[in-house]
């Protein structure tokens, strides 16, 4: 099980985050201050760190810097302060994403999963194909001076297909890669997303998503 480090001086908030992560199948360890967070991050085999910005002994920004220097770990910052004012500092210290309190539990999971996916994909995070450029770091599709931000699932679908053009992906494979192995929805979900993805693809993209009747989908370059 993947282990996530939660650092916050507020016990209730830690419990909240712990429960949410546990429900999604993550193992957690907890730190109540910045120093402890740095120590635990170094000693344990964690895959991701969630840091509160206001903590005793060592604040979140400083802890983030220390963790980043010791280990290459993805870090999400939590901030209760009026939004933006800490973000710049957080990003400067190398944090990868942040969440503002109060946050939606689904958003927390969404960001944890997105960050993990992004972080552990050892392949290049940029694919250039046809006339488009897919940037997985910021989930953007660039074409002729425009940048499109697709809904995440659509982006992941496109990225998956674009990684191996011409290859036919069966629906089950796509579901496993994008929705996860424990997804229990129907295969039709893929069709719905492919349909939306096609309508979202610009006319000048230079690529086309072909349906292989009865098999699945593949991406073809048309220029």
């Amino acid at each position: 099980m993947q282990q996530i480090l939660i650092a916050d001086d507020n016990t209730d908030l830690r419990r909240l985050v712990r429960n949410q992560l546990a429900a999604a199948g993550f193992d957690t360890i907890e730190a109540s201050d910045g120093q402890q967070a740095v120590t635990l991050a170094e000693q344990h085999d964690v895959v991701l760190v969630i840091l509160d910005i206001m903590m005793p002994k060592l604040d979140g920004v400083a802890a983030c810097g220390a963790i980043k220097r010791a280990k290459d770990l993805p870090v999400i910052m939590l901030t209760a302060k009026s939004d933006i004012f800490d973000k710049q500092k957080g990003f400067a210290a190398g944090c990868d994403d942040y969440l503002t309190k109060p946050f939606d539990e689904r958003e927390l999971l969404f960001r944890v999963q997105a960050l993990l996916r992004r972080y552990h994909n050892l392949l290049a995070n940029v694919i250039e194909i046809g006339k488009i450029r897919l940037n997985r770091q910021q989930y953007s599709l660039e074409v002729a001076g425009e940048e499109l931000y697709l809904p995440l699932k659509e982006f992941e679908l496109l990225y998956q297909l674009a990684a191996r053009p011409q290859q036919i992906f069966p629906r089950e494979t796509l579901i496993q890669h994008i929705w996860g192995t424990d997804y229990d929805g129907s295969d039709r979900t893929v069709d719905v997303h492919i349909k939306r993805l096609r309508s979202h693809l610009p006319a000048n993209s230079g690529i086309e998503i072909k349906t292989m009747r009865g098999v699945g989908y593949s991406l073809e370059v048309t220029v």
Binding site: S82, D83, K101, L148, Y149, P151
Partner: protein, 456 residues
């Protein structure tokens, strides 16, 4: 004694008049000594010599009568002999003692130029001094010498009085008129002071001061009235704001209190319990966001002018904002299409970031599921224009008019977690950046446009 502008001005004017008189007198005196005295000396020398020659031609008996007649026509005359014995004609000299060495010079045949040499100090002409040394002296014969000067009392005594009266009257009249004029000048200031004191005491009623003229003071009063009106408006909107804030804080608190009490009852069905808990959670969220926005608004409102300006890449900020909303975008299956240009403007990065955040929050909130939000940038007439549009329902014109008001919410439904401050904050921030924000709503497309002056 209370310091008074009037009193001070009077003192200043008196000092000015006195010192002008003094300086003018010094100047005139200097001119008299430099120019008039030598001229007078020459004139008198000629007259004295003529009188002297005529005196010699007269028989001895008539000589005294002659000098008496001359004296009456405005001269002071002294006839002095070798031993210093002197006969006087005309008005008496006040200083009658003529020094012996000067007497001898005259008897040696030299003309005595007493008028040219006469000095009585810088403040006095000596013109009216009636001094025997202030004369022209010529030798009449071996025994006698003639000393002569004009008698100004006889020649222009009245003129002297006339000029004295003229100057005194002019000075007095000038002072009186100046005092009156000063009073009139000071009066509006007194009124202005009273009005200011009223405002300082918290009375923002429109001050009733007449504008006396279009001069500097008039402009001051006009400006003052404008300021008073602005203050009254600030006061009114502050009161409104406080009322709005307390209402918006009170209503979620009331709901929290009420539902928490309900939940204390043990016999509630599980479904109702869950519903109440959800309401509590929504209301706390709303309170949380409201306090956050209020703090931000307070800090922005305080910052009337941007103190720390930095170069900001707007395109980069917009990309960052989109990143922060990936989750919300995904929830509603929204596509964001952007056309960004790399242009820098000067401003406060944190505040500007808040503008994009607020606008995108709104765009997402009112966008139909599965629609497209577009963000475009263009440079037009020295401004950078950022347009954020969604495919939401058209905003009716009467609602458009209030969109940027504080606490205005287009959907007045309960359970909304937003504060109604987002656009007010955005507008405030854009304004202090010297830009402006507008909305254009058509069926299918609603666009918020922010234009900011380009970095110069």
């Amino acid at each position: 004694m209370k310091a008074s502008l009037y009193r001070k001005s009077v003192l200043v004017i008196v000092i000015i008049v006195a010192s002008s008189l003094f300086i003018a007198f010094l100047g005139a005196n200097h001119y008299y000594h430099q120019r008039l005295q030598p001229a007078n000396d020459n004139k008198m020398t000629a007259i004295t010599k003529k009188i002297g020659r005529f005196y010699q031609q007269l028989p001895a008996k008539q000589r005294q009568t002659y000098l008496q007649t001359i004296a009456k026509s405005g001269y002071q005359i002294a006839v002095i002999d070798r031993n210093g014995k002197t006969d006087f004609y005309g008005r008496q000299f006040r200083q009658k003692n003529f020094p012996g060495n000067k007497r001898q010079t005259i008897f040696a045949g030299h003309t005595y130029h007493g008028i040219r040499a006469f000095r009585k100090g810088i403040l006095v002409t000596g013109f009216f001094d009636s001094d025997i040394t202030d004369t022209i002296g010529v030798r009449l014969n071996r025994r006698q010498a003639l000393l002569l000067r004009t008698d100004p009392d006889v020649q222009f005594g009245e003129l002297r009085v006339y000029f004295t009266v003229l100057s005194v009257l002019a000075v007095i009249l000038a002072l009186v008129l100046l005092f009156i004029a000063l009073r009139m000048l000071v009066r509006p200031i007194l009124r202005l002071t009273k009005a200011t004191e009223k405002i300082a005491a918290g009375d923002y009623q429109k001050p009733e001061i007449k504008v006396p003229s279009r001069d500097e003071l008039g402009r001051l009063i006009v400006a003052f009235k404008k300021m008073a009106a602005a203050l009254a408006q600030v006061e009114a909107s502050r009161n409104q704001f406080v009322a709005d804030v307390s209402h918006d804080l009170q209503s979620p608190l009331t709901a929290l209190n009420g539902y928490a009490k309900e939940l204390q009852q043990s016999d509630l069905p599980a479904a109702t319990r869950a519903e109440y808990l959800q309401i509590i959670q929504q209301e706390t969220e709303r309170l949380s966001s409201l306090t956050k926005q209020l703090l931000l608004l307070a800090s922005v409102s305080q910052e009337q002018v941007l103190t720390q300006k930095k170069s900001i890449q707007v395109a980069e900020q917009l990309r960052q904002v989109i990143q922060t909303f990936l989750f919300q975008l995904d929830e509603k299956d929204l596509l964001v299409s952007t056309h960004l240009v790399e242009f820098a403007i000067l401003g406060n990065a944190d505040l500007l970031f808040q503008v994009w955040q607020n606008l995108l929050t709104n765009a997402i909130r009112y966008a139909p599921v599965g629609s497209t939000i577009s963000i475009t940038q263009q440079v037009k007439a020295e401004t950078l224009q950022v347009e954020i549009s969604n495919q939401g329902a058209q905003i009716p014109p009467d609602i458009q008019a209030h969109l940027f008001d504080r606490f205005y919410r287009a959907d007045q439904t309960r359970g909304t977690t937003h504060s109604g401050l987002g656009l007010a904050i955005a507008q405030e921030i854009v304004t202090i950046h010297g830009g402006h924000i507008s909305v254009k709503s058509m069926p299918e497309v609603t666009t918020f446009c922010v234009s900011l002056p380009l970095k110069r």
